[in-house]
C-alpha cells in the first residue's frame, strides 16, 4: 500500500541553525501539507501546497518557514533559524483530492 515517507525520523539542532525536513508524498497525490504537533498537544496546520505553490498558510508559518517541491517526488519544509519553540513533531500529509489525507510517520525536531 502506498504511504507517505519522511526523513529524518529525528533531528536535533542548535537554536539558530537551519533545518530541512523531507517528505515523499504518495506518488499520484496533488495536495501536500505540513502539520506540526507540540508534545502533548493537538495537530496544527502549517501550510498547504498545490500546483507548485502555497495554497494557504497558518499564522505559525512565518518568514522563517518555507516549502519546496524541488523535484517530482520530494516535498520539503525548511526552517531558516530554529527557535526553542520550534521543537515539535512535524507531519507531512498528502491527498489525491478524495478528501482523505494520509500522514507520514513524522520527524521529531528537537531544538537545543
Amino acid at each position: 500500500e502506498p504511504e507517505v515517507t519522511q526523513t529524518p525520523s529525528h533531528q536535533v539542532t542548535q537554536m539558530g541553525q537551519e533545518v530541512i525536513l523531507r517528505c515523499v508524498p504518495i506518488s499520484n497525490h496533488l495536495y501536500f501539507y505540513w502539520y506540526r504537533q507540540i508534545l502533548g498537544q493537538k495537530v496544527e496546520f502549517l501550510v498547504s501546497f498545490y500546483n507548485n505553490e502555497i495554497s494557504e498558510k497558518s499564522e505559525i508559518f512565518d518568514d522563517q518557514f518555507s516549502v519546496e517541491r524541488p523535484d517530482g517526488s520530494n516535498f520539503t519544509l525548511k526552517i531558516r533559524s530554529t527557535k526553542l519553540e520550534d521543537s515539535a513533531m512535524y507531519f507531512c500529509a498528502s491527498t489525491g483530492g478524495d478528501y482523505t489525507q494520509y500522514f507520514g510517520p513524522g520527524t521529531r525536531l528537537t531544538v537545543l
Binding site: 495536495y31 501539507y33 502539520y35 498537544q41 493537538k42 495537530v43 496544527e44 496546520f45 498547504s48 498545490y50 495554497s55 494557504e56 507531519f91 491527498t95 483530492g97 478528501y99 482523505t100 489525507q101 494520509y102 500522514f103 507520514g104 510517520p105 513524522g106
Partner: protein
Amino acid sequence: QQPVQSPQAVILREGEDAVINCSSSKALYSVHWYRQKHGEAPVFLMILLKGGEQMRHEKISASFNEKKQQSSLYLTASQLSYSGTYFCGTDKGSNDYKLSFGAGTTVTVRA
C-alpha cells in the same frame, strides 16, 4: 476555527462503549476522524461528508448531524487496540482541503 472535542479523556474496560463528540459553531464541509498511538502518526479512520451520514470502520462508527455542525464517534465493545488519542479534523470547504484539528480525546482501554 478549530472544532471542539469532548471529552478530553475516557477510560474504559474492554467491551465497554464510549462516545466522542466533535462540534463546530458553523457548518462544516467534512469531518475526518483519526486515531494516534503514542509516538506515531495519526491514522485515518473515516470521513463524513453529508449531513445525516453514518460511517463505520470495523467496530467504530461515526455520525454527522443534519446541520453538519456535530459529529460523534462511537467506540463499541472496545478492544485494547482502541487505546490512543482520537482527533477530529474538520474541513470548511477550502480549495486545498486543509484540516483543523480538535484537541483530541485520549482513550485508555483496560483489560
